[in-house]
């Protein structure tokens, strides 16, 4: 069943169109930066962007910083919201279940498919970012990269930091996916599930900035989303990254558990 889900994912034009669009935006940004040479001042504009003009190798991180606030969560929420509700809407859910495919097995396969999509999307953006950064912004002949703290990094250092960043952002997106996947087992409308997932993110983003919500801030799903920037400081302050992983893990476990509990017992009337 997992193989079938992956074949469905990779065989669908929409998968590639959405990933293509995700990759397009950072490229557009890189082109503008390269042509004008105007970088946002430090502390303004998308994360890390002020640092990339000097060094294109930092652009994968900047590229993910560009798509992270909106595009990536939208793409992941649409994909995960579609997973069960989309089958319900196309009328194929009932035929899968009477094939028979066990409900738990179906849900696991859907989860794996969403994880694969998330990883594919994050890696594609990072790879496009790297290529765009190197070719458009250049490496300015430097072998080392300057961190946000002003120290220098070797290419090997930069490589593992970028790798950890990809995993961290991927895991944050799994948090988004589990919200949408849970909603996808509640409704037969993929649109409702995806929008519901986004509504949770928007609410969280609003509450994070609200001082009055300080009591719950540290438990909100988007609270530590940008903590991966810390990976480009020296030495790396691991506190926020660790907290972010734990918070996301909490959401993933609870929501996937709820999705399973709901889907394995509900009446399928679609």
């Amino acid at each position: 069943m997992i193989g079938v889900e992956l074949r469905k994912l990779l065989g669908r034009p929409r998968t590639w169109v959405s990933i293509g669009l995700l990759c397009l935006l950072p490229v557009v940004v890189a082109v503008f930066l390269a042509v004008t040479g105007i970088a946002p001042r430090p502390g303004q504009g998308p994360t890390l962007l002020s640092a990339v003009l000097g060094n294109g190798a930092l652009f994968p991180a900047a590229a993910l910083g560009i798509v992270l606030p909106f595009f990536l969560p939208i793409a992941v929420a649409v994909q995960a919201g579609e997973s069960v509700a989309g089958e319900a809407q196309s009328g194929t859910l009932r035929y899968l279940l009477v094939r028979p495919v066990g409900r738990t097995r179906l849900l696991v396969a859907k989860l794996v498919s969403v994880l694969a999509y998330t990883l594919l999307a994050v890696l594609s953006v990072a790879a496009t970012g790297y290529l765009a950064g190197i070719s458009l912004l250049g490496n300015s002949g430097q072998v080392t990269t300057t961190t946000l703290s002003g120290t220098t990094l070797t290419p090997a250092d930069l490589a593992w930091r970028t790798g950890v960043m990809v995993l961290y952002i991927g895991w944050s997106m799994v948090g988004v996916a589990s919200v949408a996947l849970f909603l996808s087992t509640l409704t037969d409308s993929p649109l409702a599930a995806a929008l519901g997932g986004l509504a949770v993110l928007v609410s969280s983003t609003v509450l994070v900035t609200l001082d009055a919500a300080g009591a719950v801030r540290d438990y909100l799903p988007t609270r530590y989303w940008l903590a991966w920037v810390d990976l480009f400081r020296d030495p790396v302050p691991w506190g926020d990254v660790t907290a972010g992983v734990l918070v996301q893990t909490g959401y993933v476990v609870v929501l996937l558990g709820a999705a399973w509990a709901n889907f394995s017992t509900r009446d399928v009337t679609s």
């Binding site: 079938v4 065989g11 194929t92 009932r94 009477v98 094939r99 495919v101 009446d267 399928v268």
Partner: protein, 328 residues
């Protein structure tokens, strides 16, 4: 059991009609489904024997689809028991369903894929065999291609090529849904409104296909609100009304004689005069209805009175009259 023995084409044709409980393919006892305060299905005792062509009749909203979904383990019963092919559902659904082909509330397919690609995905999604390791591997990967071609041929969809299902007509989608149900050579077909969207010729083709499968041993449970369809195809009929089973009998019993006789004569006016009302009445198409007048005496009287008797036959209820009588 080998796959060969399992092939429905090679099994001896079972006798139709009810039998011992041992050869029942669907049995429900006290099956009830409530949605909140609405009782969709109420205390249903169904019995479908192996080899039956069972017509599950009822008006829209009478609980047919809910019942079908419960038989397939999609909807959970509030109370009552279900046995399909001798095993409890939903507990043993994964053992039973590989031998059941189903069409529920219209076909479902991925619109961007062709018929073949859809069937390939569907077939690959499920297990090759049921939970029993000795069960026939009717879903095997080895036979997938040939099973898909055979199913498409059975429903008359071989020439569709690579066109995506998006471009199909409703009738073609319905045929694809049937092909999906036939993919594993099931022992039981559960079909909900299978001729929906088909033209008259398509309906006849599908009926012939189902009759052929039934002759080779496949039991068919056909849920429909179309009386004519059930009357032409089924041997047994269950009538559902507001969630309750109001009749379950052989088709011939439901279409039983009314006790009246219809007589065709050359001169209806003369005939009514000879017999004298109210014993004799006429139908819209000019037949004489004899209520309690014995046929031999009536015909003798008519002949004596100079009226020629062309035909005399007992009047039978139509299925429609029976069902409307039961559900009004």
């Amino acid at each position: 059991m080998t796959a060969r023995e399992h092939d429905p084409a090679r099994r001896p044709a079972p006798t139709t009609g009810g039998g011992a409980d041992g050869d029942a393919v669907v049995v429900t006892r006290g099956l009830t489904k409530r949605y909140g305060r609405v009782t969709a299905v109420d205390d249903l005792d169904l019995r479908v024997a192996a080899g039956d062509r069972y017509g599950f009749l009822g008006p829209n909203g009478s609980g047919k689809t809910t019942t079908v979904r419960m038989l397939l383990g999609l909807v959970h019963a509030t109370s009552g028991e279900i046995e399909v092919l001798g095993r409890r559902v939903p507990r043993h659904a994964k053992d039973v369903l590989p031998e059941v082909g189903a069409l529920v509330e219209g076909p479902g397919a991925y619109p961007h894929l062709s018929a073949r690609a859809n069937l390939r995905l569907l077939d690959a999604a499920g297990p090759a065999r049921g939970g029993d390791p000795l069960a026939p591997d009717t879903g095997s990967r080895r036979t997938r291609r040939s099973r898909i071609e055979a199913a498409l041929e059975q429903v008359g969809l071989t020439d569709v090529g690579r066109r995506p299902v998006r471009a199909y007509s409703l009738g073609m989608r319905q045929r694809l849904g049937l092909a999906a149900a036939l993919l594993r050579g099931p022992r039981l077909l559960v079909l909900d409104e299978p001729t929906n969207g088909l033209d008259p010729r398509g309906i006849a083709e599908i009926r012939d296909l189902l009759l052929d499968l039934n002759r080779r041993g496949t039991a068919v449970f056909l849920s429909s609100h179309l009386l004519a369809e059930v009357e032409l195809f089924c041997t047994r009929v269950g009538v559902l009304h507001r969630g309750r089973l109001v009749a379950q009998d052989d088709l011939d019993a439901l279409r039983g004689p009314t006790g009246r006789t219809l007589v065709r004569v050359d001169d209806v006016d003369a005939a009514t005069r000879v017999l004298g009302l109210p014993a004799a009445r006429t139908t819209d198409d000019g037949l004489l209805v004899l209520d309690d007048l014995p046929v031999p005496e009536a015909t003798a009287a008519l002949v004596r009175g100079g009226v020629a008797v062309l035909e005399a036959a007992p009047e039978r209820r139509t299925l429609e009259q029976s069902v409307l009588g039961l559900t009004s």
